[in-house]
Every structure is written in structure tokens, then in C-alpha cells.
């Protein structure tokens, strides 16, 4: 049976976020460069946007261009905008050096060369957001403040510092969020009318549970995360938050803070079983992701992947508010045929009767 879409991607996603009936399940894609290149070669395509069309991806996520200092350190290593040299798997890798490993005082935090909001080109960003007239545009600055702090200090040292010098930790978090919130605010000022969803991300889960206790979350994450959510809220946009790991215990707090969409749903982590989450929060919170990059996608067969996709569609038929996407960036070890199977199945089985 051949189907015809009734909505544009933008309409479909916005209706789905509001739990209104839609014509078909929404689809998103996120992957490292190697996967992009492999899939483009597989389909004989030359650019990323053509690949997005081929996979029927409803979302677009334009990023602003960096016009700040060169992102290279004195030894020629690639750095991020916090001056942390990085390397490793995927595009993001991990920190090679922790520049604030020995930080002892707020004065040292003040003296650190923090990035400033004028290091992005916002005019170009607005133009690119505008160009995606028919797609759902994810926008705003990525709010990975707790993660950035733990990379600046080194994760183990950072956890010690939370006990030993909470004032220094709060100074670091404040500096990071001043930058991220400031960038996000300008992005929405310039491009808000073209952005559909405010997308932020910061990881609070590990495999077995939340990374920290609730009192610790309330002290060192919540106030800063709220600032990132509030930029989206101020411009009337749904807020989507990326957190890896087991965050089931944090979901009620996220919702209280104004969360609309949780991404990427690491289904193998404790309490992140998608059936249980749907039963508990279906129709109240949207879920984005869940196709298992820890197990099914790297180690399963194409048929295992197809079954998982059909399972998700089956569950969320009755609730709405769901996007088929991987449970983390697709990394190089995932076989091409499993990714192809995922997107084919999402398209073929994704038609819903309104």
C-alpha cells in the first residue's frame, strides 16, 4: 500500500510534541562523521542533507559557525571552545588534558580564559535555520555544563571537588553557563522564529542509575539546567534534553522544570525500559531515541533492529510524542545494514491511522 504524507516534517513534529494525531511516526538521525560518510557511499549520495532526505529525517539541527580563536592548542591538538584538547572515538572523543585539574580558588576560576558569546556567527546561523522551512529545527546552545566542568577538572577530581570546595565548583558552573545561556539567548533573539525546539544536553546518568544523589543534583545541576531550559521557555518553544545513562529517577524533576522531550533513552540502563517509561509518562512527556546502540544496533541482526523499530511504533501509537532515533550517536562499529534496516523499517512501518 502506498502512503502519502499529510504533513510537512515541521507540522508533524510540532503536532506530535503537542500529542495531536499525526500521519506517521517521526524520525531523527544522529551519527559521527564516519557513519555519515559510510551511508552516503552506500546510497551514492554526496551531501549530508541528501542523506537526511533519503532516511526521511524530520529534524534538522543547524549549528552556528565558530569565529573565535583557532580550536588548536600549542601542541597542535584539536581543542573544544573551553581549551580542552580532545581525541578519541566519534566526533567528540574525550578530554586529553584537564586544564583545571589543580584548581583551588574562585580567583583561579575567574582568571581562566573562558569563551565569550561573540565567538559565534549568529547571522549565518539565523539564515541556516530559516532555510529549513519544512523541517523541525532544533536550536539553541548545547548546555553541557556539568560535563564540561568534569572535563575541565577531570571527572574523579571534580567529584572530590564537589565535596571539598563547593564554592569553586559553583564558580566554574556559573562561568560555563554564563557562556552557554548567553549564546542560546542570542541564537533565539536572532533565529527564534525559525527554531521549533530548544535542544540542550548534559549527562546525568550512568549505566546503573543517576550519576549523583538528588541533593547533589539540586545543588550543582538543577539551577544551571533551569537557566538553559528557560531560554526555550521564554521564546515559547518545547524543550528537549539529551542525557545519557539511567535518568529514570530524575524524570519527574526534569518535568517539573519544564521538560517536553527526553532524548536519547539509553534503554539498557537501569529503569530506562521503554515500555515502562511509556506506561508511566506516555502522553505527558515525549521520548526521542531508544533504538539501542549498546546492544541491538552494534550486535544484533537487521531483523532484530527491524523488530525493535516496530515495537517502538506499536507502543507509542496510542500515546504519540515519540521519535524513532538511535539511543546515542551512531558510532563506527555499527554495521551499515543495521542502520539501513532501522530507517527502512521506520519509514515502512511508521504510517499511523489518524
Amino acid at each position: 500500500m502506498s502512503h502519502k504524507p499529510r504533513y510537512t516534517s515541521k507540522e508533524r513534529v510540532l503536532r506530535d510534541c503537542a500529542f495531536q494525531p499525526i500521519d506517521r511516526i517521526t524520525i531523527d538521525f544522529c551519527a559521527c562523521k564516519e557513519i555519515y560518510d559510510r551511508l552516503k557511499a552506500h546510497y551514492g549520495l554526496s551531501d549530508d542533507l541528501a542523506l537526511m532526505e533519503k532516511l526521511h529525517v524530520d529534524f534538522r539541527y543547524p549549528k552556528p559557525n565558530w569565529i573565535g580563536p583557532a580550536l588548536v592548542d600549542s601542541q597542535g591538538r584539536m581543542t573544544d571552545y573551553f581549551n580542552i584538547p580532545r581525541a578519541g572515538v566519534g566526533d567528540f572523543g574525550y578530554a586529553l588534558v584537564h586544564p583545571l585539574a589543580n584548581v583551588k580558588s574562585v580567583a583561579e576560576v575567574e582568571a581562566y580564559p573562558w569563551p565569550t558569546v561573540d565567538m559565534w556567527d549568529y547571522d549565518d546561523y539565523a539564515e541556516r535555520c530559516r532555510s529549513f522551512e519544512e523541517h523541525a529545527v532544533l536550536g539553541g546552545a548545547w548546555g553541557w555544563f556539568f560535563e564540561a566542568a568534569s572535563e575541565l577538572v577531570g571527572m574523579q577530581q571534580w567529584f572530590y571537588l564537589l565535596y571539598d570546595k563547593p564554592d569553586v565548583c559553583q564558580a566554574i558552573l556559573g562561568k560555563i553557563v554564563d557562556f552557554m545561556e548567553g549564546c542560546s539567548e542570542i541564537m533565539f533573539q536572532k533565529a527564534g522564529k525559525y527554531i521549533d525546539i530548544c535542544f540542550t544536553g548534559d549527562d546525568y546518568g550512568v549505566q546503573n542509575g543517576p550519576m549523583m544523589s538528588m541533593p547533589m543534583f539540586n545543588k550543582f545541576a538543577r539551577p544551571y539546567l533551569q537557566r538553559m531550559y528557560n531560554v526555550g521557555k521564554k521564546y515559547g518553544k518545547p524543550v528537549m534534553h539529551h542525557s545519557c545513562g539511567s535518568v529514570a529517577r530524575l524524570i519527574p524533576t526534569f518535568m517539573e522544570m519544564g521538560l517536553n522531550i527526553l532524548e536519547p533513552i539509553q534503554v539498557g540502563a537501569a529503569g530506562m525500559n521503554i515500555d515502562e517509561l511509556a506506561q508511566k509518562y506516555g502522553g505527558k512527556l515525549c521520548f526521542h531515541g531508544s533504538i539501542d546502540t549498546q546492544n541491538t544496533l552494534p550486535f544484533g541482526s537487521p531483523e532484530d533492529v527491524r523488530r525493535e523499530v516496530r515495537h517502538r511504533i506499536e507502543i507509542f501509537k496510542k500515546y504519540g510524542g515519540f521519535t524513532i532515533a538511535p539511543s546515542q550517536h551512531l558510532l563506527p562499529e555499527i554495521p551499515t545494514e543495521n542502520i539501513v534496516a532501522m530507517y527502512e523499517e521506520a519509514w515502512d512501518s511508521g504510517w499511523l491511522t489518524e
Partner: protein, 210 residues
């Protein structure tokens, strides 16, 4: 035994100087180093592990407790050696080749120490050859391997193969863990055990040397 209680409490609360002072005071009161170790430090870390498994303690709490335990242990260690007290066994630990993640591995190492094991930490990005060499050099009862990434897990199987090729597999138990690692994977590659977290890893190690 008030002083033992204070050591136990200091470790539980992550109070480094409390643990260190407590051990010093207990030694000057003439308590046996082994008693301080078993009833103070090991008992406290076992409770920390239980609290973690129950979801009441998280990684940060576990880390500061382990740090307090280590502060106490640094004072106690020379006395334990001098008194001829035996460790629970020796463990070589490392994050496998290609993987630089170390916090999970460090936590397992600390819980092992907190369970009375002697721990040889090879660090991160450890090749199969390096694990093999460490078995020759350190003669451990157990090798514990960690991987955070689905892309690096396969190095665990390669290490077991390398141990077999070197004829050392029979003299050492191999246990594995890390976010993507499962019991099924442990069975598939022929490991002797899998643990989902640092606390259970210490229990597993104890059962393997029992």
C-alpha cells in the same frame, strides 16, 4: 571499640582526616592492625558497597568514602606488613586497549582494596601483551578488565586469548565489567566472571579466591 566505630563512620562519611586520625589512634591504643583493617576499613567499605547497590550512594559518595579508606590504609599498611597480615589476594586491573575511561576502573580498584586485596593498577589503554606480562611479573590470582565502549570490549576477548597462548590462563581468573559489558558477553569470551558494578566486583573477586 569506640575507636573502630569512629573509623567506620569516618569512611562512610568520606572524612579523610577522620579516618587517618582514627587509624593512628587505634594503633596507639594497641589494637591489632588486622582488626582495624577488618572491622574498621573493610567493614565500612562493604557497607558503602551495599549502599551503592541499593541506590542510596552514588559514584561521588563512593569515591570520597574510598578516598577516606585509602587515607586510613596508608597509615595502616606498613603495620599490616610488619605484623605479617595476609592480603585477600592480588588483583591486576586495567582499562583495555583503545579505551581511556578510568573512573569505573578506579572505583573497582578502590573497592577491591577496601575488601582487603592488593591491587596492581595498569592504568588505561592496556594491551593484551601488557596484561600477559603483568601476570608473569606480579603473579596475581585475578585479572580485572574494564571497557566503557562497545568498540573496545573486543579487546577483553583478545586478552583472554593472549593469556591462553602464553600458557597462563590456568593460573589466573579473569573478570570483566563496564557499561556495555554483560554476563552473556563474559560467557561468550570465556571470562570467569562479570560484575555490573564496583561493589559486586569486590564480592565476585572474594568468591573466586575463596
Amino acid at each position: 571499640m569506640e575507636i573502630i566505630k569512629s573509623i567506620y563512620q569516618a569512611v562512610l562519611e568520606g572524612d579523610m582526616s577522620g579516618a587517618k586520625d582514627g587509624v593512628e589512634a587505634a594503633l596507639s591504643e594497641g589494637l591489632a592492625p588486622d582488626t582495624i583493617m577488618q572491622e574498621g576499613l573493610i567493614a565500612a567499605m562493604s557497607e558503602v558497597g551495599s549502599l551503592f547497590e541499593a541506590g542510596d550512594f552514588f559514584v561521588p559518595e563512593m569515591l570520597i568514602s574510598a578516598r577516606a579508606m585509602q587515607a586510613g590504609l596508608s597509615v595502616l599498611k606498613p603495620m599490616l606488613v610488619a605484623s605479617g597480615s595476609k592480603s585477600a589476594g592480588k588483583i591486576v586491573i586495567g582499562t583495555v586497549k583503545g579505551d581511556l575511561h578510568d573512573i569505573g576502573k578506579n572505583l573497582v580498584g578502590m573497592m577491591m582494596e577496601g575488601a582487603g586485596f592488593e591491587v596492581v593498577d595498569l592504568g588505561t589503554d592496556v594491551t593484551p601483551e601488557k596484561f600477559v606480562q603483568s601476570v608473569k611479573d606480579s603473579q596475581p590470582q585475578i585479572i580485572a578488565m574494564s571497557a566503557l565502549l562497545t568498540t573496545t570490549m573486543s579487546s577483553m576477548g583478545l586478552t583472554i586469548k593472549a593469556l591462553e597462548a602464553a600458557g597462563l590462563r590456568g593460573q589466573v581468573k579473569v573478570i570483566i565489567g563496564g557499561a556495555p559489558v554483560t554476563n552473556a558477553y563474559a560467557e561468550q569470551i570465556g571470562a570467569d566472571g562479570f560484575s555490573p558494578d564496583a561493589s559486586a566486583a569486590a564480592r565476585l573477586a572474594k568468591s573466586l579466591v575463596a
